[in-house]
Symmetry: C2
Subunit: 396 residues, 2 copies
């Protein structure tokens, strides 16, 4: 028999991933063009041309043995130095290559840092709605997720409840801004208040609380919104970054952790994160794509297509009578379900070949997530279905 812990996980599995498989099934029946799959954050905008050019150059010009070989578990020093410099330029920070560990995407980075920090029973706070995989990542190390209820008015974090729920067992807090699934960006004011609360509680309980900033969507913001760099507001901040969305490389599994000098027990945290990177079986982030990142450090992606999608989808849904916040970043719309049980709504949507993910996967039932990192035509094609759903639920 398999491990007890895995039995429930296999049965529950990931609703998002189940949708992804369902989408492939429906596409095989109705044709891909007639299925409107908004289930997965799989970017539809291709990686910038510079990415493949860089890869081809490296493969053609550099020594094969060096390109595909082992390096230090933390990654190539020169790539880490470039990342540090780029962050310093953009955010006025003071990182060196020492502060950067290359990881197998942000999911790898989060697992590394949670393994580094958590003792069994330690609490990790997350603000609902949050990416459901955090539950599994924390449970991997026998930690306990403490969810802060959603503030459904504007989906900014509920700081009153946050302050109440910090305990002597709180080891870490995960924030994710721009947010999956709401697209909300935490304002500088919010971050400052959060830092104040954390500092106060660290003192009150004589503990270190690490703020883990999960930032795969940092580069995906609209209307010139600023995303504060959290290490500047709270000393005990560790950043997890991924190129999955910012360079459309989700399959390649490439990202990094930033562990600033100011973090409590810096050298132990850094050492343990390196060991965790190795013993969790990542060993190191994929080598070719580390080098590609080194060459593409200043490459920016054109997010105009996502913005176009955002405008069309948001404006249309609101026009039909749906309720949702206009996202400032990422590529998700978090829409209030017209019925209390949003899974019922997801099933109704499926009748129109529309796939969306129930909010309960994000600890926020009553809502659904629509990932609009799809072709514009997919949104256009789905509008008739969304309109029919609005009529059915008498939204306008």
């Amino acid at each position: 028999m398999i491990a007890d812990k895995m039995v429930g996980l296999v049965k529950g599995s990931s609703a998002i991933r189940a949708m992804f498989e369902e989408g492939k099934r429906l596409a095989s029946i109705y044709g891909a063009e007639n299925v409107y799959d908004f289930s997965l954050g799989n970017p539809n905008v291709p990686a910038p041309a510079e990415v493949n050019q860089a890869a081809i150059e490296i493969l053609s010009e550099e020594k094969t043995i060096a390109v595909h070989g082992y390096m230090s578990n933390s990654g190539y020093e020169e790539v880490r130095a470039k990342i540090a410099n780029s962050l310093n330029k953009r955010f006025d920070t003071n990182f060196t290559e020492q502060n950067i560990i290359m990881t197998v995407g942000a999911a790898g980075g989060l697992n590394v840092i949670l393994k580094t920090l958590l003792n069994p029973g330690d609490e990790v706070i997350a603000f609902a709605p949050y990416f459901g995989e955090y539950n599994s990542y924390v449970s991997n190390f026998d930690g306990k997720i403490v969810a802060i209820s959603p503030n459904t008015e504007n989906f900014q974090p509920n700081l009153t409840e946050f302050e109440e729920k910090i305990s002597a067992r709180t080891k870490a807090v995960i924030v994710n801004s721009p947010n999956n699934p709401t697209g909300v960006v935490y304002s500088e004011d919010t971050i400052k208040k959060m830092a104040d609360i954390l500092n106060k509680k660290q003192e009150e309980f004589s503990i270190d609380i690490y703020l883990i900033s999960d930032e795969p969507y940092r580069e995906l913001v609209y209307d010139g919104v600023e995303v504060p760099y959290l290490t500047k507001y709270y000393a005990n901040t560790i950043v997890g970054y991924s190129y999955s969305k910012s360079l459309s490389l989700p399959g390649e599994r490439i990202g990094y952790l930033v562990i600033p000098d100011e973090v409590a027990d810096f050298s132990m945290v850094l050492g343990a994160a390196n060991v965790a990177n190795r013993i969790l079986g990542y060993v190191n982030a994929p080598s070719l794509f580390q080098k590609v990142i080194g060459k593409c450090i200043d490459v920016e992606m054109d997010i105009t297509p996502y913005n176009r999608n955002r405008e069309l989808l948001y404006n249309s849904l609101v026009e039909y009578g749906f309720t949702c916040i206009k996202p400032e970043g990422a590529f998700y719309l978090f829409v209030k379900s017209p019925v209390a049980d949003e899974k019922e709504f997801c099933e109704e949507a499926k009748k129109h070949n529309i796939l969306v993910v129930p909010g309960s996967s994000f600890a926020c039932p009553g809502y659904v997530r629509i990932a609009y990192c799809v072709a514009y035509e997919t949104i256009e094609g789905a509008l008739r279905g969304f309109k029919a759903l609005a009529v059915k639920y008498q939204l306008s």
Copy 2:
């Protein structure tokens, strides 16, 4: 503070990795050509030209969004089908794409399968000497390694002790043939006896015992030695494979698991392994290199250089009076230390700029591992040092 479990690990860290870092340090002082670093299994033979050609073709010709995007957590179906077919042709097995899960190297695959199987306290048997990282992988899931003492006569597994140490808590057995660190290949006779013992014990305790075959060195064998395919000898066998050594791609983190239909609780094991692949943060094996593997499925590496190294190093060391088994596979020599405390010998060797790894890292003190996946010149250059060590310890 960091997790209690990590404190010891950071201090102990990996002796092999520490050596790797030490090698880089020495090289910066004495020049790379004057440091004889035999510490890491980092292949010196470059990946076959077909690998980079395949990568460039994929990057140039295939749709960027498909090359770098998410796919099912288990990997691209067509790549998995090709692997299954290739195994079937070579080993007369009956796998389909359903039996294959693409993983982040063998280290990723082992962590996936151990997370799938282990409850806290479950026992995993390994035959000393064994790759020291198994300790960490098993400990990641609160399992307990049960080591079978080395049979230093020929380094075939000690089957008498094996039979004695199987208990009602035994959940898995890890074998690694061709073996790191000895280079020994387990004979068909050994495998058959092992299977008989496992079947008997499964019945005796009414349990399922999974045999995990860690096979990164399968393709690296000399003198035409055959490596039996274990799924054919014992139904409950799961294979972990990696292209790190067979195609010299250790940095790229690409491998797979084979979970045959015959395995106990097949569908639960398969489902849980898929979930584990995702929630451990791998999400999926790197996408470009999955596709590269699909194109290079029948590419074989020329292992003549390793064989040449093996002959020179083995013959020279034996001539100088060192004691070791001639390896039949992999690219390691496991040499008896001339002093009981092999760490003392490692320190002596370092005085000649020779880096080798203590056998205690492989649960087999009194020996050292010499990784000969290096340039021929490195071995030539080191011989003077080895000779001096032989003289110092009066070996001949």
